[in-house]
Structure formats: structure tokens, C-alpha cells
Amino acid sequence: MRLPLTPSQTVGPFFQIGLSTTIGSHVVGEGMPGAVRISGQVLDGAGEPVPDALIETWQPEGAGRCATDDEGHFAIITSKPARTVAGDAPHLDVSVFARGLLTRLVTRLYFPDERETNDADPVLQALSPAERSTLVAVSDDGGLRFDIHLQGARETVFFDR
């Protein structure tokens, strides 16, 4: 018999006092070969920044996380994953926590320089072009930009986990 899961609850507005530095914004060192800075803004349904969100990235090489600042901005230094599930384009698994979210949101960040592998990716193939565009980061000032829209016309595609 399977045990019933412990339900999720919101991370709330004060999670920053509980975050240790064990997992931080650097999955790899900033100067490492292949290091890429991923930055973005978390926005709500009114287009306002979300200043109390927690963004986490997950990949075989390790996990990163960053709380948003007063303007909803986050930044994580990582690298493109070297390994992927067979058939998938390289991507980061991304979790979004925030006050107002009772359960984490799960999305994916794909890389803009992987056009061919992205075109062959079964998850991206199942989406409309507009939806796909919410999951592919854009090149920005030497790094990548990945904004997360929780609601609205540009709502990010989120996955059932």
C-alpha cells in the first residue's frame, strides 16, 4: 500500500529567514567554462513584480535557488545540463514558490541556442508557438533572460508534477 503524501502549503512571505546557504544562486562558479547567468523577473496577473518568490533550478549537475528582490528579480549562475533524459532537449527543471502559491509551480527552462533539439523535444512539440516561447530563455547581455508570468496573456506554461 502506498502512503498518502504530505500536502504542500505555501512558503509564505517570510521564508528568507529559513533559507540556509547550502543551496544558493551559484550551481557553478561564475568564471567556470560554460557558466551562464540566468536572470529574470517574476510577475503576477496584474503585471506587478512578485517580491517574495523563491526560484529553484534543478539539473543533474546540481540545484540552485534564489529569492526574488523587491522588484521581483532573481539570478542563478549555472551551466547547460550535459545530460538529459533520452529524447529531451537540454533544459532546467524550475520550481516557483511564493506567498499566494499553496503548491509549488513546476516549469522548464530551455536554451535558445538549441533550436534543432528544441524542435525535436516532445514536451515543446506539444505546445503552441506562443506557449513554447514562455519556456525558451532569450539571450540577454551575455546571459539568459527567463521571465516567469504567473498569470495573464503571457502566462508561463506550468506542468503537473
Binding site: L5, G18, E155
Partner: protein, 232 residues
């Protein structure tokens, strides 16, 4: 796993919880193909957690005010197997119901001897243990005269992405459950009760502190082949 996951977790679209209204996505969640998505990241390094990081009563020169408590239990997956080496981080209000956070405006006193945060790694049996003080209830502005039941925030970070969980642990018999939209967003087959710890005589230390037992169940781990495991 998806079906049981949906059944266990509260929907983000829970309008009684005011903060959800502009933040919960409006589009339905997409389903990832079953073979995808269960990657594991490297184990967390044990040496980054100090031996006393799980005792919130010993982080300052003197003891914090409040009822001393122990909270202990195991982290298990759905199959009942222990999840060892998981990082558990906790944070909470002090005994007066105030967080040591710059944004907490509740006019209750801060306690100079209480920061309200701790962490530990689960042992080989998935076990964890925290020593702290019982947090106070506090008001918030969700609805007129709204009060959060006393709770401790728990974050569970294991090597498997699917197992990631952030939740809150509550105390048995709290009279504030009935009016709390966060607790009540969990519905179905008494799932909310799985967020409520059990008072434990075994964990209660004579002449010293009360004990509460609380086990945490996270999703199971499913092995997924990676590209470089494939032939050729």
C-alpha cells in the same frame, strides 16, 4: 504519481486565500510524459549542516521565551522507504507570534534570543529532530480578524526533483483551524490532518520539554534513463 499528487496537494486556485488571486495560474497544468522528469541532483554535502543547527533554543547567549518543544519524525517516500540525506529547513514565528523578518509588521515583541530558523539532514532511517519553542498564532489581513494557527514551516530538499516539498506543520487541537484558508485549502480524506503533529509522550522529556511526532511523506523516486546511459 500525478493523480495522487493532485489529490494530496491544495489547488493554487483557492480564492479564499486572497494572495492566490493574482498569483495562481489560470491555465490548466500540462502533464509531462510519464517517463520524464525524475532526475536526481547530487547529494547534499553533510558538512554544511552544523551539529547544533537543529536546536533553535541554543543560537544565542540565553534561551528564547516560550514552551520548549521537540519535533521529530521521519521523511518517507510513498512506498514507505526512508529518504536519507534530505535537507530539512524550518522557520517559524517566536512565542509571541512574530517572525524575525524585516517585513513582519505584527506589533508583538521580537525575542533577542530567537531567530526562528534551523536545519538538519535526515539520517539513514529518514529521521530528523528539531528542538525549538512553540510558535505563537498571529493575525494577518486575509479576511476580517484572520489569525494563522500556530505552525512551523518545513522545507524538504532531497536529491530527487519530484520529492521537493515545502509545507507547514500544525499543532493538535488548534482552535484556529476552522477559519484558516491555507490549512483548509487541503481537502479530501482528512488530508489536512496529515499536516498536524501528534503529541508524543515518548518525545516528551520529563521536567524539560513537550514532544511532537510528525512524519513527512514525499513522492517516490523513479529511475529515468539518461542520454549517456544509452548505447552508442
Amino acid at each position: 504519481m500525478s493523480i495522487s499528487t493532485r489529490r494530496a496537494h491544495p489547488p493554487n486556485d483557492s480564492p479564499d486565500y486572497q494572495s492566490s488571486r493574482l498569483r495562481a495560474p489560470k491555465q490548466p497544468l500540462r502533464v509531462l510524459p510519464g517517463r520524464l522528469g525524475e532526475l536526481t541532483a547530487p547529494l547534499l554535502a553533510g558538512e554544511t549542516v552544523g551539529a547544533l543547527d537543529n536546536d533553535l533554543t541554543r543560537q544565542h547567549d540565553a534561551e528564547p521565551l516560550g514552551e520548549r518543544i521537540t519535533i521529530s519524525g521521519r521523511v518517507l517516500d510513498e512506498d514507505g522507504d526512508p529518504v536519507s540525506g534530505a535537507l530539512i529547513e524550518v522557520w517559524q514565528a517566536n512565542a509571541a507570534g512574530r517572525y524575525a523578518h524585516r517585513s513582519d509588521q505584527h506589533p508583538a515583541p521580537l525575542d533577542p534570543n530567537f531567530s526562528g530558523a534551523g536545519r538538519c539532514l535526515t539520517d539513514a532511517d529518514g529521521g530528523y529532530r528539531f528542538v525549538t519553542i512553540k510558535p505563537g498564532a498571529y493575525p494577518w489581513r486575509n479576511h476580517p480578524n484572520a489569525w494563522r494557527p500556530a505552525h512551523v514551516h518545513f522545507s524538504v530538499f532531497s536529491p530527487a526533483f519530484a520529492q521537493r516539498l515545502v509545507t507547514q506543520m500544525y499543532f493538535p487541537g488548534d482552535p484556529l483551524f476552522g477559519q484558516d484558508p491555507i490549512f483548509n485549502a487541503v481537502s479530501g480524506d482528512d488530508a489536512g490532518q496529515r499536516l498536524v503533529a501528534r503529541w508524543s509522550l515518548e518525545l516528551t522529556e520529563p521536567e524539560w520539554s513537550l514532544g511532537f511526532a510528525w512524519d513527512i511523506v514525499v513522492a517516490g523516486r523513479e529511475a529515468t534513463p539518461l542520454d549517456d546511459d544509452a548505447p552508442g
